[in-house]
Each structure stands twice: as structure tokens, then as C-alpha cells.
């Protein structure tokens, strides 16, 4: 599971120094990936991921239980990405799907990337926190500052949009497969 780190590793990072640098190095790829999934802009994603890592480093001593590091750090990352998106709404366009840094070997992943990009930023964040980080709607509500009912509503809309996008793509693939034999 991503971002699952040893408790001792997190505890030692609280004192800063090299241990903290190692922790940030471990968190960085995940922070960038999540930020890019939400922001769709590599430059913005890199900046938001740096901000998230800085926030994590700065607030780590205040984290009460190292066991909650994983969900807590996802909250920080997603919030930073949403904040970055809100600061620069004009950049919330779809990024190029053929970006060299993105390699999907399954059609579902590409379809999801496209479908996710069509969602409002908050819904992207909610979907990632729910399906990827494993947070429930109550935890997402705390993380995003939205009421639980609003989070559930966002999740429902996002889920519906993702399923529709995936179903449409799959239907198109099946249609092609049905047609091809006749062509041959």
C-alpha cells in the first residue's frame, strides 16, 4: 500500500535532520502523483507537492500518533493541491494525456485519468482520498472542511461520472471488437 511507512521511521523523523529528509524523500513521489492527478499540470503539481512536503515536515512534531501518518499526510497533500487549484483557476484545464512522465499500461487507468480530469477539483480530491487513500466520508469531511453530507454528495456524483466514463469506453471497445470480425 502506498505511503505505508514504519512507525519507527516516522518517529525518528520527528527529530528532524537526516531522518526527516529520508521521510520527505519517501513521501515525495506520492505527493507529486496525487498533486498531478488533481492539478493536471506538472509545474503546479511539483510546487504543490513541495508545499505539502514542507507542511508535513513542519507539522510532523505536532502529529499525535505516528500510526495516523498515512491518512494525515494524504489529507495534507490533497489539501495543498486543492489550494493550489483554487489559487490558479485558469490552470484547471486538462493536461496533455501523452505527457512523457505518465505511462498507463491499462486502459482503465487512462480512462480514469480522463474521467477524473473532467471532475471539479474538490471531487477529484474526494475520490482520491476515498478510493486511493482509503478515507471514509467523515474523515474526508474533516480533511477538506466540508460537511459530511456534502462529501457524500460529491463522492456520489464523482462515482457516477467515473462509472459512466468507464462504461462508455468499455462499450466502445466492445463495439469495435464486434465490428472487426465482419471487416475481416
Amino acid at each position: 500500500m502506498p505511503l505505508t511507512l514504519e512507525i519507527g521511521f516516522i518517529e525518528s523523523a520527528r527529530s528532524g535532520g537526516d531522518a526527516l529528509e529520508r521521510l520527505i524523500t519517501a513521501v515525495w513521489p506520492e505527493a507529486y502523483r496525487i498533486a498531478l492527478s488533481i492539478l493536471r499540470d506538472p509545474g503546479l503539481a511539483e510546487d504543490a507537492a513541495q508545499e505539502a512536503c514542507a507542511s508535513i515536515a513542519r507539522s510532523l512534531p505536532m502529529l499525535k500518533h505516528a500510526g495516523t501518518f498515512r491518512t494525515w499526510s494524504y489529507k495534507v497533500i490533497v489539501n495543498q493541491a486543492i489550494t493550489a487549484a483554487r489559487r490558479r483557476p485558469s490552470t484547471l484545464t486538462l493536461g496533455p494525456l501523452t505527457d512523457r512522465a505518465i505511462h498507463f499500461d491499462q486502459s482503465d487507468a487512462l480512462d480514469l485519468y480522463n474521467a477524473l480530469g473532467a471532475l471539479p477539483v474538490v471531487q477529484r480530491g474526494a475520490i482520491l482520498l476515498h478510493y486511493y487513500a482509503g478515507l471514509n466520508s467523515g474523515e474526508i469531511a474533516v480533511a477538506t472542511g466540508l460537511p459530511s453530507s456534502t462529501v457524500r454528495f460529491h463522492l456520489m456524483l464523482a462515482r457516477r461520472a467515473l462509472r459512466k466514463a468507464l462504461a462508455t469506453t468499455t462499450q466502445a471497445i466492445h463495439s469495435s471488437e464486434e465490428v472487426l470480425p465482419n471487416v475481416q
Binding site: P2, E21, I24, T25, W28, P29, E30, Y32, R33, I34, L36, S37, P42, E46, A49, Q50, E51, A52, C53, A54, S55, I56, A57, R58, S59, P61, M62, L63, W72, K75, V76, N79, Q80, A101, I102, H103, F104, D105, Q106, D108, A109, L110, D111, L112, Y113, L116, I127, L128, Y131, Y132, V142, A143, G145, R159, L162, R163, L166, A167
Partner: protein, 263 residues
């Protein structure tokens, strides 16, 4: 229809398919320094009151001397709160300005204070009955101009500090009335540590302002004084309540003030 499991699996694949660039520790380190940690102060005298109006910062420092470093740390808390509220925080006050202001902060008698300010001081009345000691302090003020984008030394204010029988304390500030200051804020905000999402935890305090002639007196509800007690003081002084701005009303002022208070 696609199951939650397939969405979960698809998202996992999608995110794993994104290549992250190399970690830039020096950039992260720079951002850590920029958003430097804001230590929690437990002293009940230490207050950083924040508002989004013209008068936005009030520092009450319970130390024998004011350290520019401490002021800048508290300013950082202020900036965090203001930014969290969507406002634009001024840059840190220069150390030289803080040193200048610090040297001007001193206890005074009412007569001495009156000789140093350009407005007629109307002392507080109707104070809580358990007040056991009082002190008058000259309160230097730093002013940040949103027009010239610079800090300067402002007109001094006068602070009446009171200690109560149970050890609590509170302050009332008197300063010259200036119609250009615009409406006072209804609330002051204090950035009190960080939440789990890395954002500052904002504590809201109701803020009051009333006018007696050329003087404006302000007080902020805190654990030292309640809102009804402040209203009783205002009523006893027969002060005219100044209009207050709601939380999200636009900030039309062109100045921001920073006060240095020493008990």
C-alpha cells in the same frame, strides 16, 4: 456497471503510472523556512489578535523586553491567520522598526500619556468589580501602508491594562479617531497552532470599538474579559459604538497597524 473495486484498482494503476521527478529537498527546505513553524505560546498575556480590517494586528507580549525575533514569530502567526482568511498579509515589519517601537513602549501616568498623544484621553469606566490593579502604557504603533507598501512609525496609542483577582488580565486600547480608518472589524482572529491538514487553527474573538470625542477605545473579548463586560464598560463610558465590519466584508482601508504592548 463498474464496481468500487475496479475504480480503486484503476486509480491505483493510474497513480502508479505517474513518474515523479526527483525530489528537490532544497526547494522543500526553503518552503519549510518560509512557512516557519509557529510555536504555541501558553502565556495568557500573549495574544495575537487578527482582523481583516484596517486595524489588523495587536501584539501583547509578556516579556521583560521585546525581542524582534519574537515579534516576527508572532507576526508569522498573524500572517498565517490572515492568509487563511483570504486576506493579504503585509510583509514582516523590519527589525529596525520593531526596535524603535520597542524603545518607545513604557509605563506612564495618565498625565504623561495625555502629554504624549494628540487626542483627549477618556479613561475607562464601569470596569469589572474584581479588578485589582491597573497600569497605563504608551503603546507604539507601526503602520503598513498598502499604497506605498512600506512600514513606518505611527501615532502612539495608550493601553489600559488590568489584572483581576483570579489572575486574569485584559487590556483596553485608546487611540485617536481617524475617519479614514473605516469600520472596525467585528472579530479578531488568532492563529493557534496547526490543524492536521496543515492549516492554521483560527480562534475567533469578538471585537468592540467605541468613540468618546477624539478617542476611539477598542477591546477584544478573551479569557480575560467577556463580551458583556466590554459592553458594560462601553455603556459606563457613554461611548458611541463604531460601525463594525462583518467577517467577509471587503477591506477598504489603506493602512494596517501593528501594536507593541509590554506589561
Amino acid at each position: 456497471m463498474f464496481s468500487d473495486a475496479r475504480i480503486r484498482e484503476g486509480l491505483n494503476t493510474m497513480i502508479r503510472g505517474i513518474d515523479a521527478p526527483p525530489v528537490t529537498l532544497h526547494q522543500i527546505q526553503r518552503k519549510i523556512l518560509q512557512q516557519k513553524a509557529h510555536p504555541r505560546y501558553t502565556s495568557r498575556y500573549l495574544r495575537l489578535a487578527i482582523s481583516v480590517a484596517v486595524i489588523i494586528a495587536m501584539l501583547v507580549i509578556a516579556l521583560p523586553s521585546i525581542s524582534p525575533a519574537l515579534v516576527q514569530t508572532i507576526e508569522a502567526r498573524y500572517r498565517a491567520a490572515l492568509q487563511a482568511l483570504g486576506g493579504i498579509a503585509p510583509p514582516p515589519a523590519p527589525k529596525s522598526l520593531v526596535s524603535t517601537l520597542s524603545s518607545q513602549s513604557r509605563n506612564a501616568t495618565l498625565a504623561l500619556a495625555q502629554s504624549r498623544v494628540g487626542f483627549t484621553i477618556v479613561p475607562p469606566a464601569g470596569l469589572p468589580k474584581d479588578v485589582v490593579s491597573a497600569r497605563i502604557q504608551m503603546t507604539p504603533t507601526g503602520v503598513y501602508s498598502k499604497v506605498t507598501h512600506s512600514w513606518s512609525v505611527g501615532s502612539p496609542s495608550v493601553t489600559f491594562s488590568y489584572r483581576r483577582a483570579d489572575g486574569r488580565s485584559f487590556g483596553l486600547m485608546a487611540e485617536p479617531f481617524d475617519p479614514q480608518d473605516g469600520p472596525q472589524p467585528k472579530y479578531m482572529f488568532e492563529a493557534d497552532g496547526l490543524a492536521s491538514n496543515g492549516q492554521p487553527v483560527l480562534v475567533k474573538h469578538e471585537h468592540f470599538a467605541w468613540r468618546n470625542g477624539s478617542q476611539v477605545m477598542t477591546a477584544t473579548q478573551s479569557d480575560g474579559i467577556s463580551a458583556p463586560e466590554i459592553k458594560a464598560i462601553q455603556a459606563a463610558m457613554r461611548g458611541i459604538a463604531l460601525p463594525r465590519r462583518e467577517l467577509h466584508a471587503p477591506n477598504t482601508g489603506t493602512r494596517m497597524k501593528l501594536y507593541l504592548l509590554k506589561p
